[in-house]
């Protein structure tokens, strides 16, 4: 079902209205709050470390916050998935068919709503980064990593919606979440880890490419989510852009993120 056939500005109004309601619900969902708790915990550990150990730096000890954001991103994915599956869960599919707003508009609203948990994450991370800056040096690389993590929140949020559109079972997202947790690089990383959402890359330029990679993935997954119930030219364009960005950045990362035989990831 296509959205309203009136002028473009009014066609976006329902998407914005839905995004607002869904976004606020996401911020209050227990899954997002649990993820936020992890970030808070990581931040608290860092603060304690910086207060008790004079040689603690954001670079070395800030990993607890980074770990927190990993959980936040993964939990956001399950949260958006849960929101998208609400109609199926509550048996409201039939009565909502009789309403003028169609499925694709609602998915669009949820897509836009992923900005809310990303904003929530950004606020938390910016606060702790500001604190870290008062205790010691915070490099550009650190900031790029933070930005990369925030993009990951959006990408995984969109992944949750794509999964709900194509594999509408409540068990899919938790299993994928577990899988993502398992492929998160730890101490000994391998070459392909550079393509995982939470890869930490030691070069500013390549870290930016990773963010582009994640944005491309987000576009692709977003198109997949909306494209389940609607086919428009805009979607094809966005899909093509997503595919292009993803492939280009993946190629760059794979070829340049591991120069020679040295360790290529953080």
């Amino acid at each position: 079902m296509s959205p309203t056939s009136t002028s473009p500005s009014t066609a976006w109004a329902p998407v914005r209205a839905l995004a607002r309601v869904e976004g606020e619900k996401l911020l209050r969902s227990p899954l997002f709050l649990a993820g936020a708790a992890f970030v808070a915990l990581g931040s608290a550990i860092f603060v304690r470390a910086s207060l008790t150990n004079p040689s603690a730096t954001w670079n070395d000890d800030g990993w607890t916050v980074a770990a927190g954001t990993i959980f936040l991103a993964i939990f956001t994915m399950v949260a958006t998935n849960h929101a998208a599956l609400r109609d199926r869960r509550e048996d409201t599919d039939e009565q909502h068919v009789s309403l003028p707003i169609g499925r694709s508009t609602r998915t669009g609203g949820l897509l836009l709503a992923t900005a809310w948990p990303a904003a929530g994450a950004a606020v938390m991370v910016l606060l702790i980064t500001a604190y870290a800056a008062t205790r010691g040096p915070v490099t550009t690389l650190d900031n790029v990593h933070v930005a990369d993590r925030l993009v990951a929140v959006v990408t995984l949020g969109v992944l949750g919606l794509a999964l709900a559109a194509w594999l509408p079972s409540p068990f899919v997202a938790p299993v994928i979440a577990w899988g993502l947790l398992l492929i998160t690089p730890g101490e000994d990383s391998q070459a392909w880890h550079v393509l995982t959402p939470f890869a930490g890359i030691s070069d500013v330029g390549l870290a930016l490419w990773h963010a582009v990679y994640l944005l491309g993935l987000a576009a692709l997954l977003g198109v997949a989510a909306v494209g389940r119930t609607s086919r428009t030219r805009w979607l094809l364009v966005a899909g093509a852009v997503g595919v292009g960005a993803t492939i280009a950045s993946a190629a760059v990362l794979l070829t340049r993120a591991c120069p020679g035989t040295g360790p290529c990831l953080l």
């Binding site: 056939s5 209205a17 048996d91 409201t92 039939e94 009565q95 009789s98 309403l99 003028p100």
Partner: protein, 289 residues
């Protein structure tokens, strides 16, 4: 607009081998119309078609002058439609207000202030203003039913499709429902499927009886009751020849069917007429099940 709001012409619908609707035709304009019939395919199928949820296999359906088989017309119809299904679903973890607010967005009420006003209006209309911030899962069955009615009333639609709106409501709530329907702003077309014949007598200008996929009666409630005139009588004992009889509270027996000569006939009600019109269908369907 001129012309009927809801037009059905020779509508057919099959579910596998079962003919749910077999050539149903009627026109409804701005009024309150009741739809009576046995449980099963016919009545709910008609309601769903008018709510644009289901498409007929054959025949012509026109709602508000438009054809719901075209996607853009369908959206246009849905903007002026309110639907309360027989088994409504809810977002149980939402509060009553949040749920109706969400449906309001889906009805394209994008301005927040106006939307919230409208949500408060419909919640007050159904008497749920005090529990607006309670979660749906904490509401009783009757309250949930009223919540489903509230979301159908959003936007003062021109066509209201209500499937069993008073099921599970206590007598006071049923009377409030009648008050609500008779005071709806504008002159909407209300199609009311119900088993409560008192609601039909009290509210409906017109009643349709649907059984075995066809319209058995189309007229006023008084005329419907009138079809059973002279076929209801009271006696002291059971009568084997009656179609149905039962013992009333005062000890006498009430019978429906073909009265023996000299029996004292009683004024017939819609229930009696309904039974005489539809009773053999139900018996046949029951035997086949």
């Amino acid at each position: 607009m001129s012309g009927p709001t809801i037009e059905l012409r020779n509508i057919e619908k099959r579910y596998g081998a079962v003919r749910a609707l077999d050539g149903v035709s009627f026109d409804i304009g701005p009024s309150v119309t009741g739809l009576l019939g046995p449980n099963g395919a016919g009545k709910t199928t008609v309601m769903r078609m008018v709510a644009t949820v289901l498409a007929p296999d054959r025949g012509d359906l026109r709602l508000l002058g438009r054809d719901p088989s075209s996607a853009s017309d369908r959206v246009a119809i849905r903007r002026r439609l309110g639907y309360m299904p027989q088994e409504p679903g809810f977002y149980r973890s939402f509060t009553a207000f949040e749920f109706v607010d969400y449906v309001a967005i889906l009805k394209e009420m994008t301005d927040r202030a106006n939307r919230h006003d409208e949500v408060r209006r419909v919640l007050t209309a159904v008497g749920l203003e005090d529990v607006a911030s309670r979660k749906v899962k904490a509401l009783s069955g009757g309250m949930r039913r009223r919540l489903a009615l509230a979301q159908a009333l959003l936007g003062s639609p021109e066509v209201l499709v209500l499937d069993e709106p008073t099921a599970g409501l206590d007598p006071e709530q049923r009377l409030r429902f009648r008050e609500l329907v008779s005071q709806l702003p504008g002159r909407p077309t209300v199609l009311l499927a119900t088993h409560q014949t008192e609601d039909v007598t009290a509210l409906c200008e017109r009643v349709l009886v649907l059984a075995a996929g066809e319209v058995r009666f189309d007229g006023t409630p008084e005329a419907l009751a009138g079809t059973a005139d002279g076929r209801v009588w009271v006696g002291a004992d059971r009568e084997d020849g009656a179609r149905l009889s039962w013992r009333m509270g005062d000890g006498r027996h009430r019978h429906i069917g073909d009265p023996p000569p000299g029996a004292r006939t009683e004024p017939a009600t819609i229930d009696d007429a309904y039974l005489l019109m539809v009773g053999d269908t139900t018996a046949r369907e029951g035997a086949a099940a």
